[in-house]
Amino acid sequence: MEAILTNIRVHVNRQGTDEDLAALAQKGDLPAYESLVGRYQRFVFRVLWSRTGFSREDVEDLTQDTFVRAWKRLDTYDPTRPFKAWIAKIAANVAIDRHRSNLRRPLTTEITEAENTVPSNAPDPASATISAEQRRRLLLRVKKLPDHYREVVVLRFIEEQSYEEIAEALDLPLGSVKTRIFRGRELLKQSLEPALAEGES
């Protein structure tokens, strides 16, 4: 009976928790899985974006790989645990495999046309705190951060994840997450100060 109610909740109302959807998907329900992909595509995309070479096409492919791989391994998911942490671990493994397979391209240090025109969560220029030029510089600095600082900084400030969520997703102790975020920001500040001064003069 409970299962039938869950089914109705998910399919008729397009509601239901992530864990409900995942439990249905485990039984082979593709539409339920499609809803889950819709909910988590942005998160997975950002996790991969923060860990790999920032090329939009690559990250898009890796995001797709992550969800296909997750589907094949759904039987390893425990529906009493948060789906987000589980999918983040799969994304992390996809990123590692990609790294191993040596397909990783060097970081793009220029912001390409494509990146400027793709949908993003950037605010409109009128309400922004810093100028477009400063933002461009800051993004470059973030891209050049060492991997282990960049991924936590992106997840914390761009993806706005909590410290606990980041720790769980990256399988790191909470203390390491705090330290890495702090050190990453210090690096950003050091590298940003001359640039900002330059921009102001």
């Binding site: 969800f67 296909v68 589907w71 094949k72 993003s120 705190t129 705090k178 702090f182 950003l188």
Partner: protein
């Protein structure tokens, strides 16, 4: 109180400190202009990072994932049929060219084993036809079928094979009906 470290300022701005330390830092920021200015810089950096133009995945992503899964599933499904055909071929081959001697007890044992394995395989088929885990059960069922066929009288082997094929056909039909209902709701 001494001026605040960068670490204190940042963790304070993120609300990560204990109540006591939070109160002390708040009091210090009231009275120290240079720390207050550095605190403002921390906040500004956080806001600037939040406003970075990070890309988003394209809206077609869920659809693409689902088509890739469907394609993989279709491939597995056709592979599966090849396995069934091959298994039956091997089974009938072994029946017509029996090897080694056989005893009625061994045949009965194999038959029981086959039936229970077959039941497991059928249940698995209904539940997860597209999943590769099916292979292990299928493989076991096929092996037992082959052993049994080699050791049993012709009428038994033929009828069991027929029952097996009917069961497979019925489950495939059931599977495609339920999948159709799920996918095209």
């Amino acid at each position: 109180m001494d001026c605040l470290s960068n670490e204190q300022l940042f963790f304070y701005s993120e609300g990560l400190l204990e109540a006591d330390e939070t109160r002390r830092i708040a009091a210090h920021l009231q009275s120290c202009e240079s720390c207050a200015a550095r605190y403002l810089e921390e906040i500004e950096l956080t806001v600037a990072l939040r406003e970075l133009p990070a890309p988003l995945p394209s809206a077609a992503m869920p659809g693409r994932v689902i088509s890739q899964i469907r394609a993989a599933r279709a491939r597995t499904f056709s592979l599966w049929w090849w396995a069934v055909a091959f298994g039956l071929l091997v089974a009938s081959g072994l029946r017509w060219f029996p090897a080694g001697d056989l005893s009625p007890e061994k045949a009965a044992l194999s038959l029981t084993e086959f039936l229970s394995d077959g039941a497991i395989a059928v249940v698995q088929l209904v539940a997860r036809l597209s999943d590769l885990n099916t292979w292990s059960h299928l493989g076991r069922a096929m092996l037992t079928l082959a052993e049994m066929a080699a050791q049993s009288p012709l009428w038994l082997a033929s009828s069991v094979t027929a029952v097996f094929m009917v069961a497979v056909a019925a489950n495939v039909l059931l599977w495609s009906l339920t999948r159709h209902a799920l996918v095209h709701r």
